[in-house]
């Protein structure tokens, strides 16, 4: 049994309590800057008084002591928010927040209905930890402006930050009573409910707050992200309630991503009314999904954005995502050659390679060859090389090394030193050339790592059996490849255990019996790292089959006999799982 979810506020309060003087000053300065952003709108229309301008200059120069004096003068000459906030900032930097108390009292006496002065006053007492004065200032403010939500809002925010949710709750309830509704306090109420672990009321409050203030979506998702699994459906219901509005849906999408539900995140956004705002959101979401390699979602989001705002860049991104998502045929629809893009050289540079990649993915190497030929005059060398390599790879997959070489030849003499040429050398068994060419490969891939791991350890420069094994692998013939790697191991004693292990992995991945190969590695190469891996894999298989005793025997043997192996932590973990000493993962 366990306990309920807890607030972020408690942590915040601890942080606040422990905040050093410097941190507190920075905190105040940040608040002041945030507020200044709002105030400056008003100030923009006015020309700054010279005293204020001078004080700001001194502050910008980091001369805080001089700036304090200058802001104080400015407060006398031109009392206003700019001077006050400036004084607040530099006082915080110098740890002299207490010097704000007197000027604030004067300003508030002269302008009792000016919210910014009251807000700074609350903040000042918060930083000074004068809870009694903080409360008193709030009460005076509420009395002075009984129909204004600001006092309740500002004081409640401070209380939440201080980790005093119960008091914040009573302030919000007072505000509700005074104002007649929670409408103007939804944001604070939502934060408070989240801090108190009341997830559903918080989500409902966020839903209402976000309707008017969609820019708070990030704050909402941050506040609700810690909700336990049991509360999440309720949160979903609240934020997804109709009508579908950008703010709540954006918050829900962020939450779903946070909870690892990327498809649900997209589902939250896709039902928005297709307009400019939605398209912007979809495009942003697609960019994030693309960066996280969630190709299907990126494809759908780009496509949705493209439908609202058709453009070549969007279509290209959608096509690229489609290709990676395993829907190459979508490329022909999204970016037809000779479609939206009229510039042939640009088509050749940006769109044609997508078509080539799609054709290669569909196994249509001949069509890809023909397409390259059609655009040949527009191709720059880099693009020519890229597409030639794609086509060469397609020919290799189909088993035609001659056509692969021909395809590569179209890229010109540079192709001889390309990565693709390296692969062809490997398949031919010309290990020396392969070693040299593949070493310069720019993009590390698992295939490359596997090949390099072997060929750098092979001492001879010619290894046709090994080439045949890698060629079978490139063709997707894993059964044949496994047999050929076993065959090659007989010719290359220096990498025999590694080749046998590849063969075993290929078998195991297909669900075939790899035990004979593991046994052979352990018997013939007992001191090799591959023997340790073989024993570990064997034990894993036995555990999966329910043979706990067999798995335990192998794991204990491995741990006791290979104490220096890098696989020891994995072996220990397997042993824990076999014993039932840790929860099943």
């Amino acid at each position: 049994m366990s306990v309920e979810r807890f607030s972020t506020t408690s942590r915040a309060s601890t942080v606040l309590r422990n905040r050093s003087g410097t941190a507190a000053r920075r905190y105040a300065a940040t608040w002041a800057l945030v507020l200044l952003a709002g105030v400056s709108v008003r100030a923009l229309g006015q020309e700054e008084k010279p005293e204020v301008a001078r004080a700001l200059e001194l502050e910008s120069a980091g001369k805080y002591r001089e700036a304090v004096a200058a802001f104080k003068i400015a407060m006398k000459v031109a009392p206003g928010a700019t001077a006050l906030l400036g004084l607040e900032r530099v006082s915080a930097e110098l740890g002299q927040t207490d010097s704000l108390v007197a000027p604030l009292d004067t300003l508030i006496a002269a302008h009792p209905r000016e919210s910014i002065y009251r807000t700074v006053q609350l903040r000042t007492y918060q930083i000074l930890r004068r809870d009694d004065k903080l409360r008193e200032s709030f009460e005076k403010w509420a009395r002075a402006m009984p129909r204004d939500p600001s006092p309740y809002r500002e004081y409640a925010r401070i209380l939440i930050l201080q980790g005093r949710p119960a008091t914040a709750d009573s302030v919000i309830m007072r505000g509700k009573s005074a104002l007649g509704s929670l409408r103007d306090l939804e944001y604070e109420n939502a934060q408070l409910r989240a801090a108190m672990g009341e997830w559903i009321p918080s989500a409902l409050s966020w839903r209402r707050a976000l309707s008017d203030a969609p820019h708070l979506a990030t704050a909402a998702s941050f506040a609700l992200a810690r909700a336990p699994a049991s509360a999440r459906d309720g949160i979903r219901d609240a934020l997804a309630s109709l009508p579908a509005e950008p703010g709540p849906r954006r918050a829900l999408a962020d939450l779903e991503l946070n909870w690892g539900q990327s498809q649900d995140a997209w589902d939250a956004l896709r039902s928005l009314k297709p307009d400019t705002a939605a398209a912007t959101m979809w495009e942003e979401f697609a960019e994030r999904a693309y960066a996280e390699e969630r190709w299907t979602i990126a494809r759908d989001a780009y496509t949705a954005a493209y439908r609202v705002h058709p453009s070549v860049p969007l279509a290209t991104r959608a096509a690229s995502a489609s290709l990676r998502a395993g829907s190459p045929e979508a490329v022909f629809v999204l970016v037809p050659l000779g479609g939206g893009e009229k510039d042939s050289s640009r088509s050749a540079r940006e769109i044609m390679p997508l078509h080539v990649a799609a054709l290669v993915a569909l196994g249509r190497a001949s069509d890809a060859d023909a397409l390259i030929a059609r655009y040949d005059k527009f191709l720059v060398p880099v693009v020519r090389m890229r597409v030639a390599q794609m086509v060469a790879t397609a020919w290799v997959r189909s088993g035609d090394l001659v056509r692969a070489r021909q395809a590569l030849a179209t890229a010109g003499p540079e192709a001889d030193s390309s990565e693709a040429a390296g692969w062809l050398a490997l398949y031919d068994g010309r290990i020396g050339s392969a070693r040299m060419l593949l070493r310069t490969a720019r993009t590390p891939t698992p295939d490359l790592a596997l090949a390099m791991g072997i060929i750098v350890r092979v001492k001879s420069d010619s290894a046709p059996q090994l080439g045949a094994a890698f060629l079978a692998l490139a063709r997707g013939d894993t059964v044949g490849a496994s047999a050929r790697f076993v065959e090659a191991s007989a010719h290359h004693a220096d990498v025999a255990p590694a080749l046998l292990l590849i063969a075993a992995r290929l078998r195991a991945a297909r669900g075939d019996d790899a035990v004979p190969i593991w046994t052979r590695i352990m018997a013939e190469h007992p001191t090799s790292p591959e023997a340790v891996e073989s024993e570990l894999e064997w034990a894993r298989l036995l555990r999966k089959r329910g043979d706990v005793a067999g798995a335990t025997e192998h794991l204990e043997h491995l741990i006791l006999n290979a104490p220096q192996s890098a696989l020891l932590p994995q072996a220990r973990r397997e042993l824990e799982l076999a014993r039932g000493a840790i929860p099943p993962s």
Binding site: M1, V3, S10, I582
Partner: protein, 419 residues
């Protein structure tokens, strides 16, 4: 006898003294798996091996004979050990004699029972998690076995989040319709009926009474989380209706507070019951009130007291650790308010400046009790539905060490106090 032969003979005779005689299991930061080290020591004792607990020496190390099987187990479990000679051991003992350190012989592995439903997974409870991980065997027992008198078969009993007031931790407030909650209520109600009780609170009170007797007669009790608070309430409220109407069909006695008999309780006194069925709290014993919005207190850190290992070996054993300040963690009952502690309670860990303590211990009759607040030392914000803690990721958990200290301390041979 020639000179050379004499030298050879001397070397031969001296050789056993130079060979490794013992295995030192260090428990400071040099240990790679603190939790498994407890299992190694416990299981060694179980096979008749004599062990020693070197209190305050390198984090509370263990001393075992240097036997091949123990080496094998240590290697398999990734436990650091050092083979030491008699000469090295003598040096260690000299060092210990000069400071606040003491060697305590560990003689007999205690027989362990954990009060938990048969169908519960070991991952539901920090103690069973720790026992499973350390490889220490235990027997789950529940109401039926307790009512049959099975407690006499064990030396050490652990309780975790059971609500001995029979109110199911008031989880009906948030989980009334959750299948697991309904299932738990139904099973407990059926069990109460089968065992001849009118309600679950009636059954749980009797179980609490049997646990009290278990301690009084010499048993070792270790409780965590909600079991600490509710066991005490059930014992002190033995003759009072302290359960809400939803639990037994009748409202709580309005005079329950004044009718509680705290003399019967093990650790607490003068606590005030929470009368509202809508407030997820049992009493003011818990300082953190985690499930009560508005009352909940933030988590801090707690500090283990440093006892004299020579004069207070029992509390000293209970706080052996390689850390003295630990992060706090919530539970249904997270901490114990100082105002409700009995004068004889020994406080083992407290949060500086807070009105509560974290870890307490005391004698009762011929036995002892130890209470540790909170649910899971490595999951401070644990919530229902969260994944279980994987202790292979917390091999050196100081919080879990406190739990395992409790498992080993009943094995210690009582020595007469030095005066």
């Amino acid at each position: 006898m020639s000179y050379l032969r004499r030298v050879f003979l001397i070397v031969l005779l001296a050789a056993p003294a130079l060979r490794a005689q013992r295995m030192l299991i260090p428990m400071d930061d040099g240990q790679t798996n603190h939790l498994k080290a407890y299992g190694l020591t416990y299981n060694a004792m179980k096979t008749g091996v004599q062990a020693e607990w070197l209190l305050n020496y390198r984090g509370g190390s263990f001393l075992l004979p240097d036997a091949p099987e123990l080496r094998r187990r240590a290697s398999l479990d990734g436990i650091s050990f050092e083979a030491i000679t008699d000469a090295q051991l003598s040096a260690i003992r000299r060092e210990m004699a000069s400071g606040n350190m003491e060697a305590v012989p560990l003689e007999k592995a205690p027989r362990i029972a954990v009060y938990t439903p048969a169908e519960a997974q070991p991952w539901d409870d920090a103690v069973t998690l720790a026992l499973k991980y350390a490889g220490i065997d235990f027997t789950p027992i529940y109401d039926e076995q307790v009512e049959q008198g099975d407690l006499t078969k064990y030396d050490w009993l652990h309780l975790h989040h059971e609500d001995f007031t029979g109110q199911f931790n008031k989880f009906q407030l948030g989980y009334r319709d959750a299948p697991w909650f309904r299932d738990m209520v139904a099973k407990n109600a059926a069990s109460a009926k089968k065992l001849g009780y009118a309600s679950v609170p009636g059954l749980k009170k009797d179980v609490a009474e049997r646990i009290r007797l278990f301690v009084e007669r010499g048993g070792f009790l270790f409780a965590m989380c909600g079991a600490t608070e509710t066991l005490e309430l059930a014992i002190a409220g033995h003759d009072v209706d302290i359960a809400g109407e939803f639990a037994d069909g009748s409202p709580m006695d309005p005079d329950a507070d004044t009718r509680m008999n705290w003399k019967r309780a093990l650790a607490f006194k003068d606590a005030h019951l929470e009368h509202s069925p809508f407030v997820n709290s049992m009493s003011d014993i818990d300082g953190h009130q985690v499930n009560v919005p508005g009352r909940r207190q933030p988590l801090g850190t707690f500090t283990l007291f440093n006892f004299s290992s020579k004069f207070d070996p029992v509390p000293s054993m209970l706080v052996q650790n390689h850390r003295s300040v630990l992060n706090d963690y919530y539970g249904v009952t997270t901490s114990f308010t100082k105002a409700t502690l009995k004068p004889g309670d020994i406080v083992l860990a407290t949060e500086e400046g807070a009105p509560w303590v974290k870890y307490i211990h005391g004698d009762y009759g011929k036995g002892t009790w130890t209470y540790l607040g909170g649910h899971d030392p490595e999951d401070p914000q644990h919530a229902i539905g969260n994944p279980p803690t994987d202790l292979s990721l917390h091999k050196g958990s100081p919080g879990y060490r406190l739990i395992l200290n409790n498992v080993l301390f009943p094995a210690a041979k009582k020595k007469p106090l030095k005066t």
